[in-house]
């Protein structure tokens, strides 16, 4: 998993609340046997609409999603996180995330930055005025930043310490366990020889 310290990228306003995992990626797109390629199913139902925000040319390079409240509700499928990452998103900003989605994001390396509802509105307004503008998500200082000069937006976001530590260090569950690899090796050395093996 890549380390996440700070990211600046084109932000896309997704002005909807309660975006559930079926909307993020419908079940028919789950047949893949890889961890990659799920971008084709991302927001599939909406992407048929040429006016859908992701279809607009100024958002072609989007990597920060700014969504309404209750993002990622519904099933526990990890594919929702993969689809966002496969598409190129590094961070999602919302005023409220579903717990399972937030957990899955942290494990997979997608930053779920929870901000005040007013901050989402301010960023949306900013993006309406400047389509294709970038937003910075700084995990070290836990801040989101956008715009310049007197209208600049700078506010803090919430993320739990443990998830922040993992993201900053690029540690997935396996990475965390492997920080204790010496314990595993010690354990293996004292296993009885009569225990079965497949090879």
């Amino acid at each position: 998993m890549d380390k996440f310290t700070t990211h600046t990228g084109v932000a896309v306003p997704l002005k909807r609340s309660n975006v559930d995992t079926d909307q993020i990626i419908p079940a028919v797109y789950l047949k893949r046997v890889t961890r990659t390629g799920f971008e084709d199913g991302l927001f599939a139902a909406w992407r048929n609409d040429p006016e859908f925000v992701l279809n607009r040319p100024e958002y072609a390079e989007a990597s920060v999603l700014v969504a309404g409240p209750d993002f990622g509700t519904g099933s526990s499928r990890e594919h929702a996180v993969w689809a966002l990452q496969n598409y190129g998103f590094k961070a999602v900003i919302s005023s409220r995330f579903a717990d399972i989605f937030r957990g899955n994001s942290g494990k997979a390396g997608l930053l779920a930055a929870q901000v005040d509802e007013k901050v989402v509105q301010k960023i949306w307004d900013h993006l309406d005025e400047h389509p294709g503008a970038t937003v910075t998500v700084d995990l070290e200082s836990r801040t989101v930043r956008a715009g310049e000069g007197p209208d600049a937006i700078e506010d803090s976001f919430d993320i739990d310490d443990y998830t922040r530590y993992r993201l900053l260090n690029g540690l997935d569950d396996i990475g965390i366990t492997l920080t204790n690899e010496a314990d595993i090796t010690t354990y293996e050395a004292q296993r009885p020889s009569w225990k079965p093996a497949t090879l």
Binding site: N180, P196, T198
Partner: protein
């Protein structure tokens, strides 16, 4: 204070424990199949990781493989991709695989024990909820999700919070003709589908001790159906006799050392369980389900219940919905329910002992007109053993379909499915809506009930067949 069996096995596998954190548990055996492993392997590949212990890993193809024409390319594209992917992954990561056509191919929970890889005191995991089957040998065995599969592949460990312990004591002896399946279905109806939530359950008592290994596997298999994390049974002479001589069983001095250790794997006299349930086997009878979860069951001699008879609102609504889905009228005697398809197989009841029992009952009878009987051995070895004993001829003469090995109609991921509205009597473990095919209606039954039902076309027990021949 003494320890329970599961605490002993657990403690022997703790690699690391820290205050306020789940334990890091070592995994002795990791079983793999085509459906839940592809993304785990892909995750390893993306992160540049290897399988830490290929020598403690075993893969087999079971969930979606065809049970007919298994020597031809798999017709369903999704299934074919999954199977091809498993083969590529096993090859790339150096994992032993028993593919379609191999003599050791079969349902992962049938293959482990028959190879002798499943032994007392082990930790065993698999990306399949019925991994609890292996608990019959006194192992802690449970199902895991795909990201955990990846974690075990990479580290041979799992982070796990220690579950609570429960004892289910089943006293007395099962009456003639009543099986381990009836025992576990009775238990689930008694506890409800959530009764075991958060527990590792130890099954004990005279009736459990009297079961064969196959019967014990049937009981442990269905632990998950009442919500338990895992179920296990203390190893005894029955266990040792079953393992001895199996291909991967220890031999010579290793065997003696292993058995000496296995004999310590019993719950201490002064150990405390967090919860205890006691049942009496001698009052048990053939048991069948009428609804859409395994806890909705009645004795075969009973009637479809009236939803109004349930005290809890939730159970009442559940029963109403279930009866609607199942197309059943309250008050109908279970014995009058007509069955279209009888499925004998699955990791619950697809072992050689199960097929022997089914053949013994069916011998000399014909499958009823308007009913079909599908017999699917749990593994190729089971199939071959059955053919050596001539069991397949009994089935074929009766008009049954004799199939190749796999999960088959247990979950209908391969072509063996019920059609909408079709009714089955199934020796498998789940009767959820659509489990055996969209709109399919499943009654969970034991092997004797399945066999007798195939002959009469309505839910029946072997006792009904005797009447049939004497009339």
């Amino acid at each position: 204070m003494g320890k329970t069996l599961s605490e002993k096995v657990w403690d022997e596998h703790v690699v690391r424990s820290a205050q306020g954190e789940p334990d890091l548990l070592f995994i002795d055996l990791h079983l793999i199949h085509e459906v839940t492993s592809p993304q785990a392997f892909d995750g390893l590949r993306l992160a540049g990781r290897k399988v830490r212990r290929p020598d403690l890993t075993l893969a087999t193809e079971d969930h979606n493989v065809p049970t007919l024409d298994w020597d031809k390319p798999i017709a369903d594209p999704v299934s074919k991709t999954q199977v091809d992917t498993l083969r590529r992954n096993a090859d790339e990561f150096g994992v032993r695989l028993h593919p379609l056509g191999d003599i050791e191919q079969g349902i992962v929970h049938v293959v482990g024990p028959q190879l002798g890889l499943t032994q007392p005191g082990m930790t065993i995991v698999c990306g399949d909820s019925h991994t609890s089957t292996h608990g019959a040998f006194g192992a802690i065995a449970f199902g895991i999700g795909t990201s955990e599969v990846e974690h075990v592949l990479a580290t041979q460990t799992l982070m796990q919070a220690k579950p609570k312990t429960m004892a289910v004591t089943i006293n007395g002896s099962l009456p003639e003709g009543v099986t381990a399946k009836d025992m576990v279905l009775t238990l689930i109806t008694h506890t409800g589908t959530g009764g075991g939530q958060g527990y590792i359950v130890e099954y004990r008592g005279q009736a459990i001790e009297e079961l064969s290994m196959e019967g014990r596997m049937t009981v442990c298999n269905m632990s998950i159906e009442w919500g338990a994390k895992a179920g296990l049974i203390a190893p005894d002479q029955t266990t040792f006799d079953y393992i001895e001589g199996k291909p991967e069983a220890p031999t010579g001095a290793d065997w003696d050392a292993a058995v000496a250790h296995w004999k310590t794997l019993v719950t201490d006299e002064d150990a405390q369980f967090d919860k205890e349930i006691v049942l009496d086997a001698s009052t048990m009878t053939p048991f069948v389900t009428w609804g859409t979860n395994p806890g909705q069951g009645v004795p075969l001699g009973g009637n479809v219940p009236d939803p109004e008879s349930f005290e809890e609102e939730q159970d009442r609504v559940g029963a109403e919905n279930a009866l609607k889905y199942m197309g059943l009228e309250a008050g109908t005697p279970m014995r009058e329910v007509h069955v279209d398809t009888v499925f004998v197989g699955s990791c619950t009841n697809g072992r050689i002992e199960d097929l022997r029992l089914a053949a013994e009952i069916i011998k000399g009878h014909k499958v009823a007109e308007g009913t079909r009987l599908l017999v699917v051995p749990g593994s190729v070895r089971v199939r071959m053993q059955a053919e050596t004993e001539g069991l397949h001829e009994v089935f074929i003469e009766a008009g049954a379909e004799w199939r190749g090995a796999g999960c088959s109609m247990c979950l209908g991921m391969n072509p063996d499915q019920l059609t909408p509205g079709e009714r089955s009597a199934s020796t498998s473990n789940r009767n959820f809506e659509g489990r055996q095919g969209k709109g399919g209606r499943t009654h969970l039954v034991s092997i004797p009930v399945a066999a007798a039902t195939a002959v009469r076309g309505t839910l029946s027990s072997p006792a009904d067949l005797t009447e049939l021949t004497t009339v």
